[in-house]
Amino acid sequence: MMTLAEKILSMHVKKGNVKPDEIIIAEVNVAMVQDGTGPLTIMELEKIGMDRVVNPEKTVLFIDHSAPSSRKELSNAHMMMRAFANKTGAVLSEAGEGVCHQRLIEDYVLPGDVVVGADSHTCTSGALSAFATGMGSTDVGLAFALGKTWFKVPQTYKIVLKGTLPEGVYAKDIILYLIGKIGADGATYKALEFSGDIENLKMSDRFTISNMAVEAGAKVGLFPSDLITKEYLFSRGKGDKWIELYPDKDAQYEKTIEIDLNKLEPHVSFPHTVDNTRVIKDAEGVELNQVYIGTCTNGRLEDLRIAAKILKGKKIKKGLRLIVVPASREVYLNALREGLIEIFVKSGGLVLAPGCGPCVGVHEGVLGDGEKCLSTQNRNFKGRMGNPKGEIYLSSPATAAASAIVGKITDPRNFL
């Protein structure tokens, strides 16, 4: 009678089945840091003489947040990461390879894994039925060196998705709606487990949803490992690594929340909290200076296709900046092959190297005072895009693309 979270964690403890609220030591399969958190990991490990990794092929250091580097301090941080990877045999993911979470789901994570990352959106891999969660630099460093970590086993909220999404409404709208409904702390310390009519959701949709679980405070956002997961792994040449994973029929949930997809509308989060959501008709008309399509939330090929379909043969509003960043090199290459990049550039957009881009306010698209940006990223906190006087709105790639044409927040269904 276990939930998915309990099941996966039970596969990684020495003996027995875990129970909610119990503190356990679990084996870790994949551990990662990025260039904002990794240097601190390295410094801590060196301080205690534990600068080693037990599982080098699945220990990854990502250069993605400031990639390529925007200042000398960060260049030096990157050098520290390269040197650590060289010394320990850990994998170094260079500038241009892509955002950590996208790279993890492309090449590293398998269903049933325990994944820890020094980045809050590590929960993205939960879509592959991995117990994947964000932690601090030291925590992940200890997982590098010891191959395990401690967890408090979370209680689980079951999120039941019913029906199918109407045209012009996307996975991003599901998760924005859910966060608006339960609040940015609505699931703090909990596991979210998605179920119901999920066979309608592609892996890319599931990644978007799991990616934002942390925006409701959750520890993980899990999908079962089903036939869609299997197909995804086969498409990546790892079909033999698929295992089926479902919660038990009689699993105990702390809460169950149902969402009727048939009636869902496009949603937008207003500044400065993700749960400050509005349905599109109450959001329309906000004038924009910048639109950003990309990130670990919505920078996948499927997202770029949706945006390109709307932008094809059109021009973005004069005076507006459209920034597009493919989430990984693979996404970039596929978008090039499909002609999507050309569509963005011809429409007046600018395309940057795979990575986090302007998402975290380090470089590439920092907002000016009073400027407004509509972004497909996952959070819109004050100062997030490098300026506390800027305003960030969040939406799906479709809403972002439509809004870039009009220059104001716009219902994407007008462009279908």
């Binding site: 904002g36 020094a118 030291t138 010891l146 702390d185 906190f381 004050k382 100062g383 997030r384």
Partner: protein
């Protein structure tokens, strides 16, 4: 462990971007410099006003946002001895324990800025010496208290060469 200090009060939803803004990303390898900007986007003067031993008292969901461990580290570096909030974001909570910065959950509505609190961490007993009110917060789970007593998770690992869940009284 008994902690006594003066209160700085903050509201709900203080994010890691308020605490350690992304525009100081380049200072992340230089924590003392980064600490000069601690909580800057919530109170620009905070780092100048805060004194050794002071206590932060806040509302709901303190520390939401990114996994940056720099956030609790620079709060601690700035001199703060304890954070009491209505609730904490999960990663911040865990990071705070790991860096040896104690945290307690409590309805903080009646605690005012400038009050002097005396806190017994093991018991979760909080005495507001300015108003005379006494509160009971749920004490930290034993394993986390142990990490705090050891001085943080790295010290804990140094001491035991591993995680040690055993509870010593």
């Amino acid at each position: 462990m008994v902690i006594e200090g003066r209160v700085w009060k903050f509201g709900d939803s203080i994010s890691t971007d308020h605490i350690a803004p992304g525009r100081y990303f380049h200072l992340r390898q230089n924590l003392p410099e980064l600490a000069k900007h601690v909580l800057e986007d919530a109170d620009p003067e905070f780092s100048k006003k805060v004194k050794q031993g002071d206590i932060i008292v806040a509302g709901e969901n303190f520390g939401l946002g990114s996994s940056r461990e720099h956030a609790p580290r620079i709060i601690k570096l700035a001199g703060v001895s304890l954070i009491i909030a209505k609730s904490f974001a999960r990663i911040f909570y865990r990071n705070a324990i790991n860096v040896g910065l104690p945290v307690l959950e409590l309805n903080t509505d009646e605690i005012n800025e400038g009050d002097i609190l005396k806190v017994d961490l093991e018991k979760g007993l909080i005495e507001d010496k300015s108003t005379g009110k006494v509160y009971n917060a749920p004490p930290l789970p034993a394993f986390m208290l142990k990490i705090i007593r050891d001085g943080g998770i790295t010290e804990h690992i140094k001491k035991y060469s591993d995680f040690n869940l055993e509870i010593d009284n």
